[in-house]
């Protein structure tokens, strides 16, 4: 193995093309691929009905992967051997006119697209064809945009690493579900209540962990997230356990039910009932909630508390020396992040109509954190773009039915199911995007306070906090 390291390192350093060395590297990559694949892909253990395992062989898959590794390493060597042009590294992003123009208007442009999106879909695909686009793309992405913006307050602004954000999402969802099913309260009353409850939980969980730093904070927040999920699973009289809570009341449009009934929305406006109405309404609700999150964050960044968050992220000791109450500052960031998580959770419950602990696993926390980090921490636009990219991309992978027919007709593989590769590609995409853009999609930041002129600075000048 060490020999391979040296070979690859040597190839990295080599200048010009060197066919022998490239061949060696490519062969080493193929051998490595063979070792990786040897038992886990070559052999497949299947159990029969009696619980006995038997093995089937798949040598072709391994051969293809080894060939791919060989070719890929060869291509990488060719790419590395190309003549290199030196580009000066710029710490401060050059304020070119085009990028300044984009930075200035991208927000307004994005907003216009978001407002027009459901209507455009309705016009393009009709009322039944657009259901999928508005529901599983529009609403789904916007929920994650909102969650990303909420977590951005904690991770991006205050620099506290929270791996259990999904706990507050769960608190919000269960708060609405329980209040609505037991007391019959309407969504609009429960929404702020759910947010306040989640913020309260944020403070309860935040208080003991404030002394902890860095990865200790990360594991304790992760543990709290898991604890809330485990309690929801096991406290059956309260939460229904794995079965969850079903038939959660739907949202009403200023007191008009969105169902197909006399006195409902469609009946009141004398239009033909269609399920798309409630989806479009939900879309605008989550859009409004997400925009409120964004607006509050942007305004708070200019207030002393927001500046204190960012100062805390940059240097905690300097903050304490200057008399900032770090405990209260951290607690407000935790509580506010949790508040928006709770609102999003309550929206999730009303949209789904059914919730169970399955929706609030660690994977959700990880996905939201990935959205924040991939977007470029602290950048609002970046977080939104990352949510569109990750969640939209994940949903787009459902649309691969044509591959099934292709595989069946051209390669003669009848039971190829592209949907099962979604998770695999999702994980791989996270790794690849992180390796290619470690500082996130948006690599510049606008400072919240500035002297004379507001200049965008490189994201790598912004610290990430120790908390």
């Amino acid at each position: 193995m060490t020999a391979t390291t040296q070979k690859i390192d040597a190839a990295d350093a080599a200048e010009g093309s060197n066919v022998g060395g490239m061949l060696k590297d490519a062969i080493a990559a193929a051998i490595l691929a063979f070792l990786l694949c040897f038992p886990i892909i070559m052999l497949h253990a299947e159990s029969d009905n009696d619980g006995n395992l038997f093995l089937t062989w798949r040598p072709w898959a391994v051969l293809i992967i080894c060939a791919l590794a060989f070719g890929g390493r060869w291509a990488l060597s060719l790419y590395q051997a190309r003549p290199v042009v030196d580009r000066p590294a710029a710490a401060v992003a050059a304020p070119s006119t085009s990028s300044a123009f984009i930075a200035r208007y991208i927000g307004a442009f994005g907003l216009a697209v978001l407002i027009a999106f459901p209507l455009a879909m309705l016009a393009a695909f009709g009322s039944s064809g657009s259901l999928k686009w508005i529901d599983s793309y529009g609403i789904q992405i916007l929920i994650y945009v909102m969650l990303g913006w909420g977590l951005n307050i904690v991770v991006g602004l205050a620099g506290l690493l929270d791996l259990g954000y999904v706990a507050f999402y769960a608190v919000g969802a269960y708060a609405y579900a329980l209040l609505a099913t037991t007391f019959g309260l309407s969504f609009w009353i429960c929404l702020p209540l759910a947010g306040i409850l989640a913020a309260f939980w944020g403070m309860i969980l935040g208080f003991p962990v404030l002394r902890l730093r860095g990865d200790y904070l990360a594991i304790v927040t992760l543990a709290f997230g898991e604890m809330i999920r485990l309690v929801l699973i096991n406290w059956i009289p309260f939460s229904g356990g794995y079965a969850g809570i079903a038939s959660i009341p739907k949202v009403s449009f200023f007191g008009l039910s969105m169902r197909d009934q006399p006195g409902g929305f469609a009946d009141f406006f004398h239009i033909e009932y269609s399920p798309i109405h409630s989806k479009i309404f939900l879309y605008y609700v989550i859009l409004a909630l997400a925009l409120i999150t964004n607006f509050v964050t942007l305004r708070l960044r200019r207030l002393p508390i927001g500046r204190a968050w960012e100062a805390l992220r940059e240097d905690e000791i300097a903050c304490r020396s200057l008399g900032i109450n770090t405990r209260n500052t951290k607690l407000t960031a935790f509580a506010l992040g949790a508040f928006f998580g709770g609102l999003a959770g309550s929206f999730f419950a009303v949209r789904q109509g059914f919730i169970s602990p399955e929706s609030f696993t660690f994977n959700e926390s990880a996905t939201i954190l990935a959205i924040v980090v991939l977007g470029g921490m602290g950048s609002q636009i970046g977080v939104a773009l990352a949510a569109v990219f990750l969640i939209g991309g994940f949903e787009l992978l459902r649309e691969l039915e044509w591959m099934r027919t292709l595989m069946a007709s051209v390669f003669g593989i009848p039971d190829f199911d592209p949907a099962q590769y979604r998770g695999l590609l999702f994980g791989l995409a996270m790794v690849v995007m992180m390796v290619l853009r470690p500082r996130g999609f948006v690599s510049t930041r606008l400072p919240s306070i500035f002297l004379k002129e507001k200049k965008a600075v490189s994201g790598s000048l912004v610290k990430e906090g120790h908390g």
Binding site: L53, L161, M227, F362, F426, G427, M430, V431, P438, R439
Partner: protein
């Protein structure tokens, strides 16, 4: 008394598996300050590799001796899992070295999602029943009527864990490799100035961590008799909890934390309820950290201005 002894045996068995995984977390954290979230899934992958190698040995090559098969499976799983972790480090973590702290963390989370889905795709989502091995038990009842059983599996786990921990301790404390590794842990820049190949040392750290996780994977597969692609998450989180409880970065702390988490879980299930055993483990972690913010054996983090 009998029940206590029984639970003590079970808890130590479970705890030694956690401890073996926790070493991988704590070593990687100590040397590059990164939480390797893919470590739990690597453990699951190693259990699958072990199962497949075991099936090849018994069904195709016809190895009759169970002990021989077990030793070969152990070595093969250690080697192949190490190759996996070496490759993962090379492709997903090394390009992010020197980048900011959250970048490798997200990369590791992505790798964890990739690994569990990869195993699901190539081996199927259903539970794999493992052929039983070492099924004999020893019965004894110390000073009472309660019948305590000690399974052969548990003895095998204790012996394998003990031998490997000793070998691991010897490598870290007595060899040039271990010295380089401890030097990198203390001060990577200074170690590089003194001629230590830091990249190579970090690679070897990942390889050692993977080998120990593979041992845990083989033992887990043998002990529980079933493997599934989603088995990596919970033991992974528990082992990470153990590493933090013991003081992350501290090797004896990882083993101690692992044993403690195993004991807490088993005793809680026996005396209170099975439902809340994981909640109990996490709650004790939170309470311990509130009073001892750097874990039981961890060094307090001193920040120099």
């Amino acid at each position: 008394m009998g029940n206590f002894l029984q639970q003590l045996i079970n808890g130590l068995t479970l705890g030694s598996i956690y401890g073996l995984i926790a070493i991988g977390y704590t070593m990687v954290f100590g040397i590059i300050g990164m939480v390797n979230f893919a470590h739990g899934d690597l453990f699951m992958l190693s259990a699958f590799i072990a199962l497949l190698v075991f099936l090849v040995l018994t069904k195709i090559l016809g190895v009759m001796s169970l002990a021989l098969a077990f030793v070969i499976v152990l070595i093969a799983a250690m080697f192949l899992t190490s190759v996996w972790n070496w490759t993962i480090e090379r492709l997903a973590y090394r390009p992010l070295r020197g980048s900011f702290r959250l970048a490798p963390l997200i990369s590791a989370i992505g790798m964890s999602i990739f690994l569990s889905n990869f195993v699901q795709v190539v081996q199927g989502p259903r539970n794999k029943p493992v052929p039983p091995m070492f099924n004999e038990v020893i019965h004894f009842s110390p000073g009472g009527s309660y019948d305590v059983t000690l399974q052969y599996k548990q003895i095998v786990i204790a012996i394998v864990t003990g031998v490997l921990l000793f070998a691991f301790w010897w490598v870290v404390q007595k060899t040039a490799l271990g010295r380089a590794q401890r030097a990198c842990e203390q001060d990577r820049k200074m170690a590089a100035l003194l001629g230590i190949d830091v990249d190579r040392t970090i690679s070897i750290t990942f390889v050692i961590g993977a080998a120990l996780a593979a041992v845990a994977g083989v033992l887990y597969m043998m002990y529980y008799g079933v493997v599934n692609f989603s088995d990596g998450f919970l033991p992974g989180v528990k082992a990470f909890t153990a590493a933090v409880l013991g003081g992350i970065g501290s090797l004896p702390g990882a083993v101690l934390g692992g044993l403690l988490i195993g004991l807490i879980e088993v005793f809680w299930s026996s005396y209170f309820s099975t439902d809340y055993k994981d909640v109990a483990a996490f709650a004790i972690l939170a309470i311990t950290l509130i009073f001892m913010p750097s874990g039981i054996l961890g060094r307090p983090e001193i920040e120099k201005v």
